[in-house]
């Protein structure tokens, strides 16, 4: 693995808790790893997993999703709905062979600037240890290691075709 590898992490956060928490981390002058790109959404309940896939397609090595703690949701139930979907989506990622640790979840409230710092640092370390998401980058490049193994399509002569019909 490249010693100097720095992961790119897309962080999808809810505007009411985690975004404000991240803001607090900033105004409190807390230092944390600069690997996350914060994307603000109305609620974790709004997070469509197309966003996660899009992040990977755009070269993210990991994704962090964070919102309000249970019972703290601005919309009462958004995070509960999201929690169920996360649980199921993780299993799907695992099943197709994507390390589920590349997609991380957390609850960070508006008062938890320090927790945000810790979460970002931990997640960055974890993704860094997983290394670059080369599998997906190969998909983006459109190349497969086994592309050469694929057999040539069988050529059927016209005569054979006529016979097959008969």
């Amino acid at each position: 693995m490249n010693e100097n590898f720095e992961p790119k992490i897309a962080a999808f956060v809810c505007t009411w808790c985690t975004y404000t928490g991240a803001d607090l981390a900033g105004t409190s002058r807390l230092k944390y790893e600069p690997n996350v790109r914060v994307l603000r959404l109305p609620c974790t309940g709004r997070i469509d997993f197309s966003l996660v896939i899009k992040a990977f397609e755009n070269g993210a090595d990991g994704v962090l999703i964070s919102g309000c703690h249970p019972n703290d949701c601005h919309y009462n139930a958004g995070n509960f709905h999201a929690r169920r979907r996360f649980a199921v989506f993780r299993k799907l990622l695992e099943f197709v062979g994507i390390d589920p640790n590349r997609v991380q979840f957390s609850w960070v409230s508006a008062a938890e600037g320090a927790k945000w710092r810790d979460v970002v640092n931990e997640v960055t370390d974890e993704i860094r240890s997983l290394g670059p998401f080369t599998e997906y980058q190969k998909l983006i490049a459109g190349s497969f290691p086994f592309q050469n193994e694929m057999s040539e399509p069988e050529v059927i002569s016209e005569k054979e075709q006529v016979e097959n019909v008969k």
């Binding site: 997993f49 197309s50 896939i53 899009k54 397609e57 249970p70 019972n71 139930a77 509960f80 709905h81 929690r83 169920r84 979907r85 996360f86 649980a87 199921v88 989506f89 993780r90 299993k91 799907l92 990622l93 695992e94 099943f95 197709v96 062979g97 994507i98 390390d99 589920p100 991380q104 979840f105 957390s106 609850w107 979460v119 931990e122 997640v123 599998e135 998909l139 983006i140 459109g142 497969f144 086994f146 592309q147």
Partner: protein, 291 residues
């Protein structure tokens, strides 16, 4: 074979009566296909057409798909009758749960079923089938069939095999499968629960899923398709059957069904009163994976 003829004639008779008496506006059923061993869908609106109905071991397709995609064309003040095998009836249950159709708008003609063929052999889903007698229907065609232990006792055997692979192997397996995809969307068209009027893959502003048959788009399409069916798929296996690239799509759906059952104890298409699991939540849901 004589059983087939008997069941077909019963089906014809019932369809004719329903149409003659004006109880239904149309009957959706199977008719002889253009090739031996194939059947096609027939939507009969008058009693004469009802003579063409058949039911045999080749009636593999799930006609519930016509209850969403073509339903607007058929809808009138009268219900629409449809031939459904016991497994297909679960689709109607799921559609009722999702408020896509009303029970009273559908007249279910339940077909007792010994299993159907897909190509040369018994269809994969029938090998593990435990439902031979239709439930929840308005009329039943065919004699009651004795319930017996299926040939395959664990329908999730193949899913478990893949679960036991390493992450790397799973990635290899699925990328290789998805690489075959030509994005014809037959899986979507044949799926009775893929009823969105505009599919996310057809949206262009923004384009969420690359629509050419590029590995990135294929991965995104199959992940999103599977996720949109999570907790909804009833396992009719139509996606597998119609995929001429032979991608084992139903494995993804089965994996989702398995996880939904493990996590929330829910089986799709069983209880019309139940709420689909991803539309509700419990305070005490598992959150081990959350930091």
């Amino acid at each position: 074979m004589s059983n087939d003829i008997k069941q077909s004639s019963e089906a014809k008779k019932l369809a004719r009566e329903l149409l003659e008496q004006g109880k239904v506006s149309a009957v959706i059923g199977y008719a002889e296909g253009t090739l031996k061993g194939r059947v096609q869908t027939l939507i009969a609106r008058n009693p004469l057409d009802a003579e063409k109905f058949i039911f045999n071991e080749y009636c593999v397709n799930n006609l519930a798909v016509y209850l969403t995609k073509s339903y607007r064309l058929l809808k009138s003040d009268k219900p629409v009758a449809v031939f459904l095998k016991p497994c297909d009836i679960r689709t109607v249950t799921a559609l009722i749960q999702e408020h896509q159709i009303k029970r009273e708008d559908i007249f279910i003609i339940g077909m007792s079923c010994q299993g159907v063929r897909n190509g040369n052999g018994l269809s994969g889903k029938c090998r593990a089938c435990r439902m031979h007698n239709p439930q929840y229907s308005d009329a039943v065609i065919g004699e009651a069939i004795e319930e017996k232990e299926p040939e395959v006792t664990d329908p999730f055997a193949r899913v478990k095999e893949i679960e036991n692979m390493s992450t790397q192997e799973r990635w290899q397996f699925w990328t290789k499968e998805f690489d075959k995809c030509i994005r014809c969307y037959a899986c979507r068209q044949a799926c009775p629960l893929c009823y969105c009027e505009q599919c996310i893959v057809d949206k262009t502003q923004p384009r969420w899923i690359e629509s050419s048959a590029h590995p990135v788009g294929n991965m995104a399409w199959h992940l999103i398709r599977a996720f949109h069916l999570a907790g909804r798929c009833i396992g009719c296996g139509e996606c597998d059957r119609v995929c001429h690239q032979n991608i084992p799509l139903s494995l993804l759906n089965m994996k989702m069904s398995k996880e939904i059952f493990d996590l929330y104890g829910y089986r799709s298409g069983v209880d019309p009163e139940a709420k689909p699991p991803l539309t509700e939540f419990k305070m005490e849901d598992n959150e081990e994976f959350i930091r």
